[in-house]
């Protein structure tokens, strides 16, 4: 089982959203991490065949993305998608099941099973327009798994879920990754950190880093420092180093930052985590008090 993305490019007028991305994905969970506008959604839409690439190709076990057989192996949860507000959750799943080619009886069985999985059994006969954002998201996750897909593409799947639902969903994805190719994008770094066997770091339409967590973090290992400093030093450090975290303490300010060598005499090197790398690459500045 192999999903090959070969020099995939998408250009919108003068902007290159995805720039010659090449990937070979096998069974496992792949976490696509990137800032807003980095090209994650565009890449995922092309992988799902809903956006035509400017150049490049996507193939699964030799089957082109435009073929029905490819879509038969695919489950997709878009970042933003609508529902038919007058449909019940159960009807919506039946409709999606018919689009995915399930027989009526199989569709009913699978719909009930997935509603149970995403804890929507009690509201299965309720109209979707009465659902909260989180419930809709869970329904979206359920529909993506109706056809037991070999490729599962989830664009921001945990958005709108409460912490309990998020953790439950993370565990579910981890289990699914054993016999599927799961590609998920999220802004929530801890989600990727916990479940992705491979992390894809995307910036300006290109994959900057690709590999397991240890390998990815290796790029900044020994470069993450923590220190507590007085306010006059804080300004200097903020101006000169990528800051990962700032916390005000009674008489000092705690800083976590990234630097080639200790940025201050009291700074101590600490183990790097994925969030450090994310903020380092995407140059996110954490404002005071955050």
């Amino acid at each position: 089982m192999e999903l090959i993305v070969d020099r995939l490019t998408k250009q919108f007028k003068n902007k290159i959203a995805v720039d010659r991305v090449s990937l070979r994905l096998k069974e496992g969970v792949y976490g696509l991490l990137g800032a807003n506008g980095s090209g994650k959604t565009t890449l995922m839409r092309m992988i799902c065949g809903v956006l035509k690439p400017t150049s490049g190709e996507v193939k699964f076990n030799g089957i082109d993305v435009n073929e029905e057989e490819f879509r038969d192996s695919l489950g997709y949860l878009p970042q933003e998608f609508g529902y038919y507000p007058e449909f019940t959750a159960f009807d919506f799943l039946l409709y999606m099941a018919s689009l995915k080619g399930l027989t009526r009886q199989r569709a009913k069985d699978k719909a009930m099973e997935l509603l149970e999985l995403v804890s929507l059994t009690d509201v299965a006969k309720n109209k979707i327009k009465t659902f909260s954002g989180g419930m809709k998201q869970r329904l979206g996750i359920a529909q993506s798994m109706l056809n037991n897909p070999k490729i599962l593409v989830l664009d921001e799947p945990t958005a709108g879920l409460d912490p309990n639902e998020r953790i439950r969903f993370r565990n579910l994805i981890s289990r699914l990754g054993k016999n599927k190719i799961v590609l998920l994008s999220t802004h929530i770094v801890s989600d990727v950190e916990h479940i992705a066997s491979t992390i894809l770091l995307m910036k300006d339409g290109q994959i900057m880093h690709e590999g397991p967590l240890d390998k990815i973090i290796g790029a900044i290992e020994g470069k993450v420092f923590e220190c507590s400093v007085y306010s006059k030093t804080v300004d200097y450090l903020i101006a000169n180093y990528p800051i990962v975290n700032i916390r005000e303490e009674p008489d000092k300010t705690f800083l976590r930052l990234i630097a080639e060598k200790p940025p201050y005499e009291t700074a101590v090197a600490v183990p790097a985590v994925l969030e450090d790398l994310y903020l380092y690459y995407f140059n996110k500045e954490v404002s005071r008090g955050e």
């Binding site: 689009l99 027989t103 009526r104």
Partner: protein, 399 residues
């Protein structure tokens, strides 16, 4: 096949689960039925006094005409009618308000319409001037007027075809009560436009609604999202149009006939359009009219679906379709430049006019001499079939 049927079923559910569909359909049926009976509402006044209600008047006329039904329209019958009119005193006031009209003339009211068209008369004086000899030659006079009309058109060498067709009209005509059919023909024009509007309202979200609801990505990434579902949507749009056309035509037909009476299906269309060249009965014209309205609406729906697959908002589609439906109603195309006139009849709403469907023109098309209704029907089918692949391609390649 079962998955295809399932998809069609869901498309119908999407249409019927919208409140606006139910409201539009109910309102449409009400307007159709109501417009059928509008001519029967109100009263006829003579000198400020209610003489009779329009409904009573219709019933009275029906009885008079039924009393004369079955008679051959010949010089004797026509003379009776003109003599009855001669009893009206020429006082200058509206003759329909006179006692003489009510007493002697009213039974012949309908036949006078035919005489008026054939002898091209506009006043009572002209009516009285028709000679007995001319009345004896009623069918010859009628045929000569028909042929004169054909000759006076800008039609090319194919005039002979129209003349030959007009000579196939079976004479003599047998007088009969046909007001049900006459009212139905008038009503059907309104009904056809209503069907066109309602189809636009209900079909415009078929594709654009998916974009607007944000369902397009889910659909297009599914197994049948780029093939079966598009066929299912197109089938739903066309079948909805067919069903709606059948239901609304039946509502119009039954409502009109219930009030006016069911007789007249085997009478010649010439009792309604005396100078028509087609040798058809009222019943045959009814079927023909329905078929043309159906084809016109299928073409309109095909156009709606193409627009729906292009635009992201069903409302935009609806606005464009309303413009396409409404503007041609106010445009009258001269018959002097025939090809423009025939082209204008390809606009769906123009197909709804009975005059355009069974007009006097024969058309020379690629060496074939065909009638307007044949050309309009063929065009509707071909144009619809040509448009639908664009719908398929647009939705399939939607980004």
């Amino acid at each position: 096949m079962s998955s295809y049927c399932e998809l069609v079923k869901f498309e119908y559910r999407k249409i019927f689960q919208k409140h606006r569909t139910a409201i539009t359909l109910l309102l449409g049926i009400f307007l159709t039925a109501f417009s059928c009976v509008v001519p029967l509402l109100g009263n006829h006044y003579i000198e400020g006094e209610v003489f009779e209600s329009h409904y009573e008047g219709m019933k009275k006329d029906r009885e008079y005409i039924r009393g004369l039904s079955g008679r051959e329209i010949n010089s004797g019958f026509l003379s009776e009618a003109t003599e009855a009119y001669s009893r009206i005193p020429l006082t200058g006031e509206s003759y329909a308000n006179t006692d003489e009209y009510q007493q002697y003339v009213r039974p012949y009211n309908e036949i006078i319409h035919t005489i008026g068209k054939v002898y091209n008369i506009n006043s009572l004086k002209e009516l009285f001037s028709i000679s007995r000899e001319s009345l004896d030659n009623f069918y010859a006079v009628r045929q000569s007027i028909v042929e004169k009309n054909i000759e006076s058109t800008a039609m090319s060498a194919k005039k002979a075809n129209s003349i030959n067709l007009s000579r196939k009209v079976k004479t003599p005509f047998i007088y009969s009560y046909t007001n049900g059919y006459k009212s139905f023909f008038s009503q059907m024009y309104i009904t056809a436009i209503l069907i066109c509007f309602i189809c636009s309202i209900c079909i415009s979200p078929l594709f654009a609604g998916e974009y607007a609801e944000g369902m397009d990505d889910l659909i297009l990434s599914s197994k049948y999202g780029k093939n079966k579902i598009i066929y299912a949507k197109i089938f739903t749009g066309i079948s909805f149009t067919v069903l709606l056309s059948i239901v609304f035509t039946i509502v119009s037909y039954v409502t009109v006939m219930m009030f006016y009476g069911w007789d007249g299906s085997s009478s010649p269309i010439q009792l309604y359009l005396p100078l028509s060249i087609v040798p058809f009965t009222m019943g045959k014209v009814t079927v023909l009219y329905f078929v043309l309205v159906l084809f016109g609406n299928i073409l309109s729906s095909a156009l709606t679906m193409v627009l729906s697959s292009i635009f992201r908002s069903p409302f935009t589609v609806l606005v464009i379709m309303t413009a396409i439906t409404v503007f041609p109603l106010f445009i009258s195309v001269s018959k002097d430049v025939l090809w423009i006139y025939h082209l204008s009849n390809f606009i769906p709403v123009k197909m709804f006019s009975l005059d355009n469907i069974i007009s006097i023109f024969s058309i020379d098309f690629l060496g074939l001499v065909i009638q307007p209704y044949e050309l309009i029907a063929s065009f509707s089918v071909v144009a619809s079939m040509a448009l639908l692949p664009f719908t398929y391609i647009n939705f399939k390649n939607h980004n």
